[in-house]
Symmetry: C2
Subunit: 370 residues, 2 copies
């Protein structure tokens, strides 16, 4: 009998050496962590073991553990927010659980009941609540991670795995020194391909991004823009989904590439599309998931029809783009050093739901004690 | 000053609890290991630290270490052999070092002087020599591994890394119960893509292979055959390179797909090509690195012109194929349950160099004390 993941089996061991949260102005993304972590072990024979929250500690793994050799690893990025009433909220965490399970299936790692893991995450958030910084733009970044822990060099389906979660307090992605990002369109490397695994949040999709990122940085850019195929289809920007706002006849059009297998189905991407479809007038706006090439963007810019460009992702929510370098030419986005009007709207819509100021569907989950 | 990898700084700490090698008939690939391991730490500030050989032990890593999240990991597969004089030999290990450095560059991990690492590996082999099983088909499988060990969730070039090596005694890949492998041609998943990273030995290339392998096994096959594109170009077989022998007019032709960026440049692949070009008469044989589709193989088989199919890799050297299932049809290889004549020749040529019975260029390296 293979046991399912069961939040009711959770054990909690609190740290004997509690630390103090850093001052808010010293927070750096992913560099400092809370006092505790979540761990759940899985084995083929036993299924999911008893979840535990315990003091954050190193993992001790044999050097032949498969996670070091064959990249049996995947993760999620989520955030927890403190609302004005002091309650702890997560934003559409069920979407992360669904994606994490899809990733697990593709990586031959065990799937689990997402709602059970969310209950465990809620308990973790209540244990480490003091580390969630309050205030607009502040949050606790959550990193659920699933790794294969079988020991042995044969390439086969892991029969042991570890699901764990660590958390890092973070401040606003864009501080007072905000600048939109400048991109280099990458032609010598592709991020993902049809029938590959670009739509899953596997570690495997990230290692290859450093070289294009480094090349872009050498030319003074912040990120690279991923293209696909001879046509120059735009897919993603760095590790974010990408949106364009065009003038399209009498209307404006919000465009993002469709989920064709090479695009990560971002939660912020999906939220942006749903909110745009709900809040923008269909008389004035077209909301499109469609393929778009770098050449079309260049032409739109040349015709004065490129209005805004932004990336979406959990870390920044939205990230305005002001420039794209492509074959030594610069495609300038007219918003320059500012947020475009739609970019700013999207940011406000999402933030207001994340901090519990606005209700939208079931998108904001309040952490409750088991 | 960033220090280069320097074998002369090697320290050796021997185990206080030496173990006994397993009986040769109990060896399972990658499941049991020698008493020691090699480790060399790297940091951006200091460069390569002093190499050490010490008792094999677990790695202790923070749960935010980048190897667990972004797949900063790559490896090599090599073997050491005991020759009839009791000397320890490795087979073309410089090729592994060259590939490992190419992989490191692509994965934004540090490069190193391959000859220095080979000197360290030689010392390791002399320390753990008793674990190298003697006899035809027996060897010590070596697993050099390089992982990113920076701690932090930002996706950036690692500023800490660990190069390590573990080793597993192995027996003949094909024992007395030898059977050629049967393949399923995979159409729903693609291993690699032009401008991707299929030609590097990154962990990222292995995680995605389990699903096709599992699907093939469900239909009674041993491995999957990777295809690319609508044309059905054959790329690799499981985790091996692939070779075909055809009748081609008056001659025979040995064919393997070219190194176009989607193919791992296997050491056994390269050795097979070089030996075939040296040992086979050009009057009788054509040796080709060229693209080949599954449809062409099917047609060759229908015309009675498909003679042999085999995979090549460090683990098996050669692995004869007797059947390929493609769209519910079976392409039968006429060698059936036996090694084909060329497949057997390649195996013998390579083994004889590996065990030091035949000299060929500088392909066999004898481990010498520093």
């Amino acid at each position: 009998m293979s046991a399912p993941l069961d939040a009711s089996k959770l054990t909690i061991e609190l740290t004997k050496t509690p630390s103090s949260p850093l001052p808010k102005d010293e927070l750096v993304f992913g560099k400092t962590f809370t006092d505790h972590m979540v761990e759940v072990e899985w084995s083929k024979e036993e299924g999911w073991g008893a979840p535990k929250i315990s003091p954050r500690h190193p993992l001790t793994l044999d050097p032949a553990t498969v996670v070091f050799h064959y990249s049996f690893e995947l993760f999620e990025g989520m955030k927890a927010y403190l609302d004005s009433k002091g309650e702890v909220r997560t934003f559409r965490p069920n979407k992360n659980m669904e994606r994490m399970n899809r990733s697990a299936k593709r990586a031959a790692l065990p799937e689990f009941d997402g709602e059970e893991f969310l209950k465990i995450i809620d308990q973790f958030l209540l244990v480490d609540k003091k580390f969630i910084p309050q205030g607009e733009g502040y949050s606790l970044y959550l990193r659920p991670t699933l790794i294969g822990t079988s020991v042995g060099l044969g390439v086969s389906k892991p029969d042991h795995a570890l699901l764990y979660l660590i958390a890092s307090p973070v401040g606003p992605y864009f501080g007072p020194n905000f600048k939109p990002v400048s991109l280099e369109a990458t032609e010598y490397a592709v991020r993902a391909w049809p029938k590959g695994y670009g739509q899953y949040k596997l570690g495997a999709n990230y290692v290859s991004s450093i070289e294009p990122q480094t090349q872009a940085a050498k030319k003074g850019h912040n990120q690279n823009l991923w293209l696909f195929g001879e046509e120059g289809y735009i897919t993603e920007v760095g590790a974010m989904n990408v949106f364009f706002v065009f003038k399209n006849g009498d209307k404006k059009e919000l465009v993002t590439p469709p989920l064709n297998g090479t695009i990560l189905p971002g939660v912020t991407r999906d939220s942006t599309l749903q909110l745009a479809r709900t809040k923008l007038s269909a008389d004035e706006w077209i909301i499109s998931e469609r393929e778009i090439t770098i050449h079309q963007v260049k032409e739109k810019a040349a015709n004065g029809e490129l209005l805004e460009v932004f990336g979406t992702g959990t870390a920044a929510i939205v990230s305005p783009v002001n420039n794209i370098e492509f074959r030594d030419e610069h495609i300038k986005v007219p918003t320059g050093d500012k947020f475009g009007p739609l970019t700013e709207n999207v940011l406000e819509w999402i933030k207001s739901i994340q901090y519990g100021e606005t209700e939208f569907d079931d998108w904001s989950r309040v952490a409750k004690k088991l």
